[in-house]
Subunit: 308 residues, 2 copies
């Protein structure tokens, strides 16, 4: 079976701690590497995990709270300094472009590689991009500011796709030579260039992974990720702090487990733990009451997607 | 003698390494704490050093290359989350305000404490602010983008200052109740409110500290910091890479030592080492050829200012 794994770079929440970094994850699918969120310190944690950032071609940013993107500017800067020339694709809330653009301008830095930014589309499930054997979808979750979850669905083998379907679902089909057009530097693709319409998967997904943070309990999520093999869902609080979770648009352990149950997930991993928790076993136990196949998503752990 | 110390939080340069963090320093003067630069990861390094960020009331940012300020947004965010209400003063290039402002807006974060930003003044030496027994001055250094060095000069005891001089040299004198006017949130003081004219120190400084990074060799620096007790000067490269230093607006070990010699410094500490160097002893030896009283400014080290 081809590798399809997620490595937890950070499982903490807004206030960083020495025990848990803020949120970032690395997805590896058959030689392709995607980063999901990029908290402060991610580039150093990648070094610790002996993962070269040069291998990452796509970065998804769920929302613009700092604990999910404050490491992005540093990562971009380092990629520039260590000589990257391959395009880097970033997908996130539209205003993320303005932040990156401003930080590059004040530094008078002209990137050596093309940085291609695509805004995420509000409302509904959308195909964000696809790589050889994987489709990456976005869908809204419920947080204090616009926030997206991501659903990564494996395609059946390439031979199962006919030529027509390959082309029609390639988000780059309408922009055949972005890098040749733009060269190095920062590029923004508007919605017209972005494949914005809803698309149904044309082949049954094989294995799939879903990423849901930050979010309050949101039953709609389950409908977007039906039958997901591995679900990462935030569980910032234990159940006795359900009111705090609701007030801050976060989830409890049991709410995360409920989404796993409703979506028919194969397995659940919980994370984004409040810094108040040092012992996480009680959170795990609480989630397992509703969804037995729960694990903690701890910093540095790698999960094989599809493992039972 | 009252404490006057600098702790090196990071002594690395643009590309972060696991051995050396990027640039940040904490100055402690008799119970007052100032941060100079704030690279990615600074807030966690403060935790490792068991220094509460709540004690820091003033942050100086030398320039807008990421390895000197990418940790600032995270630090501000954490201070907000852990309940700071005391004003935080930030001094840096004018565009830093736009970056902080944008990052707070997209996060829909309204700070619980007043964040008061004052732009640094180009050209010449200026009093940036003063606290009870310390004056903090800025002066230009020579880098690819506008960059400032800082000179921290201890006042003689309070009893040596007459009432007139106390008032005329207080940068807050013309803005008597900033916090009452503005309350919590982000405040920008323009140059008219800022004490922008050149001011001569009215008492002979006792001990003093100077911070010079990032900068190419710039003899003018010596004239701004005459007789400084402790000089931190960048030494990104060894002498055999003098051309690289010149091309990238950085200094070599010998150039740092030359500035120390020209300014009549009591002691020199060098830092901002290129990530290519693992063994730093050759850099130290090279600097000592010109200025014997050189030490390496390594992460976590604390230097008493005025020690011979």
């Amino acid at each position: 079976m081809i590798p399809f794994q997620v490595t937890i770079i950070g499982s903490g929440s807004a206030i960083p701690s020495l025990h848990r970094a803020a949120t970032s994850q690395l997805v590896h699918h058959n030689g392709s590497y995607l980063l999901i969120d990029c908290a402060e310190g991610t580039q150093l944690l990648l070094k610790k995990l002996k993962i070269s950032p040069m291998r990452i071609d796509h970065i998804l940013v769920s929302h613009l709270h700092g604990d999910h993107y404050f490491g992005l500017a540093g990562l971009i800067n380092s990629l520039h300094l260590i000589g990257r020339i391959a395009p880097l694709h970033i997908y996130g809330p539209a205003q993320l472009f303005d932040i990156i653009d401003l930080q590059l301008k004040v530094a008078e830095t002209s990137l050596r590689f093309p940085l291609i930014f695509k805004p995420l589309i509000p409302d509904g499930k959308h195909l964000v991009f696809e790589i050889r054997q994987l489709k990456i979808w976005s869908f809204p979750v419920k947080h204090r500011i616009p926030t997206w979850g991501f659903h990564l669905t494996e395609k059946m083998s390439e031979t199962n796709l006919d030529e027509h379907s390959k082309e029609s679902h390639n988000p780059f089909a309408c922009e055949p030579s972005i890098t040749q057009k733009g060269g190095a530097g920062l590029h923004k693709l508007n919605k017209m260039q972005f494949l914005s319409e809803k698309i149904e998967a044309d082949v049954s997904p094989a294995r799939s992974y879903a990423y849901c943070t930050d979010t309050a309990f949101c039953p709609d999520t389950a409908s977007f990720i039906k039958g997901v093999d591995l679900l990462y869902h935030e569980a910032t609080f234990m159940e006795n702090l359900a009111k705090t979770a609701e007030a801050t648009f976060h989830s409890t352990t049991k709410q995360a487990a409920e989404i796993a149950r409703m979506s028919g997930a194969g397995k659940l991993i919980i994370g984004h733990f409040s810094s108040r928790y040092t012992d996480l076993d009680p959170l795990l136990e609480e989630s397992r009451i509703i969804f037995q196949k729960t694990d903690l998503a701890l910093d540095g752990m790698t999960f094989n997607i599809g493992d039972k």
